[in-house]
Structure formats: C-alpha cells, structure tokens
Symmetry: C2
Subunit: 156 residues, 2 copies
C-alpha cells in the first residue's frame, strides 16, 4: 500500500487512518508546492485532479481524504473504525464523514477569503451555520461517534 502525501495538507488525515488501522504502508512525498503537480502515471491514476492524499492498494486507486478514510476503515476495520453497512450508526457516520469536504472546507474558504455566504443556495450554508451545527453535534459528548460510551464505558 502506498500513500502519496505532502506535509501540512489533508494527507495527514489519511496517514492517521492508516496508523489507526495498523496496516503496512509506504509513503511517497509529492512536492505539491514547488512543482505544483506530480505527473507520474501511478499517482495520476489514483488522483485524477493531481491532489494529495492519494492511495494505491493493489489494484485499488483512491484519492480525496474522506474517500481514502472510508475505503481503509471499511476494508480493514469494518465494525470498528467504520460502522458496518447495516448498523444504525452508518448513516450518521457517513453524514459527518461528508461534512468536512462538503460543508467545513467550502465554508472556511468563504470565511477566510471574505466572501459573502449564500446560505439558501449553497450546500454548506455559511461559516456560522457550519460552526453552530458542529458545536451542537458534539455538545453532549466527547466524540461525535465513538465505540465507547462516555457514560458506561461499554462498546456500542
């Protein structure tokens, strides 16, 4: 398994997931800042947009940090780091997995570029709505999803 990554990018999410799962992997650093793009056929077959992270696992090619985390968790840690396909928490898990690329990232981009949000039209609403939703989501718990219940310490 090979992870294409670069420091200080979303590739850290994929690296963290691989460490949590405990699989063997190698890391190839892509110099995204100097050259802009790595055009090796293997890298581009995994990452059509030319972004890190990207993962090669045998015949499998996958990029986008949420997609990589989902692939690795489902394949190598199902029922543990990802709820099983028929678990009641599967929907909540997928929702919050998508929340980062679909809501947090574009809302942050608008905020930090001083762009007026269009709450009714965009999928991410606004930075304030994103923050409020995130805060409500973890208001009564340490983690949004966890195998261990905060109250009882038992697995659920």
């Amino acid at each position: 398994m090979k992870l294409y990554w670069a420091p200080k990018t979303r590739a850290s999410r994929a690296l963290w997931m691989l460490e949590e799962v405990g699989v063997d992997y190698e890391v190839e650093t892509v110099d995204i800042r100097d050259s802009g793009r790595d055009d090796s056929p293997e890298f581009r077959s995994a990452s059509p947009l030319g972004k890190v992270p990207a993962l090669v696992d045998g015949d499998v090619r996958v990029a986008e940090s949420a997609a990589i985390c989902l692939y690795v968790a489902d394949r190598y840690s199902s029922g543990n780091l990802a709820p099983a396909i028929d678990a009641a928490s599967r929907g909540t898990f997928l929702y919050w997995l998508m929340f980062t690329p679909a809501v947090i990232e574009p809302a942050m981009s608008e905020k930090f570029n001083n762009i007026e949000p269009t709450p009714g039209r965009s999928g991410w609403g606004s930075f304030d709505l994103m923050m409020q939703t995130l805060e409500q989501g973890v208001a009564d718990r340490t983690w949004r999803l966890s195998r261990r219940s905060r109250k009882t310490g038992s697995c659920r």
Copy 2:
C-alpha cells in the same frame, strides 16, 4: 423509509437512487425556500444542517446527497450500484462519489460568483481544472463506472 426533499435541489439525486434500487419509500417535501428551515425533530436528527435531501430508514438517519446515495447503494444494492468493499473499483467509485461535493460544487460556486480560484490551496483547484479532470475521466467511455463493458457487453 422517508426522503425529505424539495424540488430543484440535490434531493433529486437521492430520489433517483431510491428509484434505481427499487425500495419502498415515502417523500416529504420541505419548503426550504419560504421558511428556510424545517425544525421538526425527525428531520433535524437526519439533517443537522437543515438541508435536503435527508433520509430516515428505521433507526438510520443520513443527509448529504453523496452520503445518502452511498448508504442506499451499499445497503440495498451492494455489488450492483456500489462495488463491494473489497472490489478493485471501490476506490475509483468512492473518489468520483466525493468529486461532486468536494470539487464540482465549490468550483461551480466560485465560477458563478466570479471569485478568483486558489488552485494550489483549495481542494477543488479551479473550475477549469475540475472540468478538464471530469472530461478526461469519461474521455474513453460512456460512463465513468459501469457494470457493462462498452466493448464486450459483459458485466465487470
């Protein structure tokens, strides 16, 4: 199973997936344009951000159109509308599934709001890079992923 939806929104993707899979479901229309938000506890438990589409399936709650399509395909049509967890095409499937919320939507939003793209920093690059990647992705095929090979007509 209940789908919260509104006309002319991304909820159409979820409706299409439910039709493809052939499950029984009911539709509840959310008037997102007049009132802005539906605050019923069931809807908000499925969609913390208050957006459509959202799906309730027994104990499962899920929102974000890509998350709903993935949940429904994995649970009710695995190996058919979604590659199995250990299939070689699983990574490619997840990548293009994420491509819509993570790349197409924010790139379109920048384009149509006349916002200068920041290709090196944003996850979506730019509108032009998004279009080029999408065009290359389907250049030699009718569908990006399909069960039926264009050349042989056999399932793969």
